[in-house]
């Protein structure tokens, strides 16, 4: 049986770095509807922050562009987020996802963004096309609610 969508949100914001904090706070508020644990919220915040930062830093290379954050909750307690940019795209996605790989060591980029998302979420998919943009899709299944003591 296909999981049913409980709630869905679509946010569009310019690629200014102040919106990194906005995006992760929005993700934390949105997933709160499923009563996640503290650790689950932390993981989601961090993963969304990484993807949005990637769009700001790499997608648009600090030029101004539009970032979309699409989030979905389904009744099987899965949180899904998709971060889209229409920036420069990634020529070699596999290489970009390798731990410690970075195109920007001068600015102390650690090259750990995708690795962190992979570790903190259950799934990560990166679809990118040079000159057209990047979509980063991640999901996390939240733990079952603790039984109410009665």
């Amino acid at each position: 049986m296909k999981a049913e969508v409980i709630n869905e949100v679509r946010l569009t914001f310019p690629s200014v770095s102040a919106n990194e904090a906005f995006a992760r706070s929005a993700a934390a508020s949105f997933c709160a509807q499923l009563n996640p644990t503290f650790d689950e919220v932390s993981d989601i915040k961090c993963a969304v922050s990484e993807a949005v930062t990637n769009a700001v830093v790499h997608g648009y290379r600090d030029a101004l562009g539009e970032i979309q954050l699409l989030m979905k909750l389904t009744d099987d307690r899965v949180f899904r987020a998709e971060i889209r940019d229409k920036g420069c795209g990634i020529a070699d996605v596999e290489e970009a996802m390798r731990p410690l790989f970075t195109t920007d060591p001068e600015n102390e980029r650690s090259g750990m963004g995708f690795t962190i998302i992979e570790n903190f979420m259950d799934s990560l998919r990166v679809v990118s096309s040079t000159g057209k943009g990047t979509r980063v899709i991640m999901t996390k299944k939240l733990s079952m609610l603790p039984r109410v003591r009665g």
Binding site: S17, A21, E108, F120
Partner: protein, 121 residues
């Protein structure tokens, strides 16, 4: 007041400098925090630098870059570099990057002096 307008909280004990990072360490404010720490390092030239993370609410890979960068800077200046009191979440990020092979990570119990916080730099 905006986060990046705040000055760093520091405690100097002998030749050891402890800097208390606060709030969110992300790409947005890492650059400002970085230049503040480096300025302090160049002026003070301590023997030891401790970055205390106990007051950091959030950190992502930009914070990791900041920490690794300060490690590199400390090595260049001959300063012993340590990280103190990361939250479990931050600890996971540090561990993912294998930080412990390079950097000493300590959990220092809060003494009264620490709990009161340092003087602004």
């Amino acid at each position: 007041m905006l986060e990046y307008e705040k000055s760093l909280k520091c405690i100097t004990s002998g030749r050891s400098l402890t800097i208390y990072l606060e709030g969110d360490i992300d790409h947005h404010n890492a650059r400002t925090v970085r230049s503040k720490i480096d300025t302090k390092l160049y002026i003070q030239r301590p023997d030891e630098l401790v970055l205390d993370l106990s007051r950091v609410n959030f950190m992502d890979s930009s914070g990791l870059g900041l920490i690794l960068g300060r490690y590199t800077r400390s090595v260049e200046l001959g300063i012993l570099f340590k990280v103190a009191n990361p939250s479990p979440q931050i600890r996971r990020i540090l561990d993912l990057a294998g930080t412990e092979r390079l950097i000493k990570i300590e959990n220092i119990p809060r003494t009264e002096k620490r709990a009161q916080g340092g003087e602004p730099a």
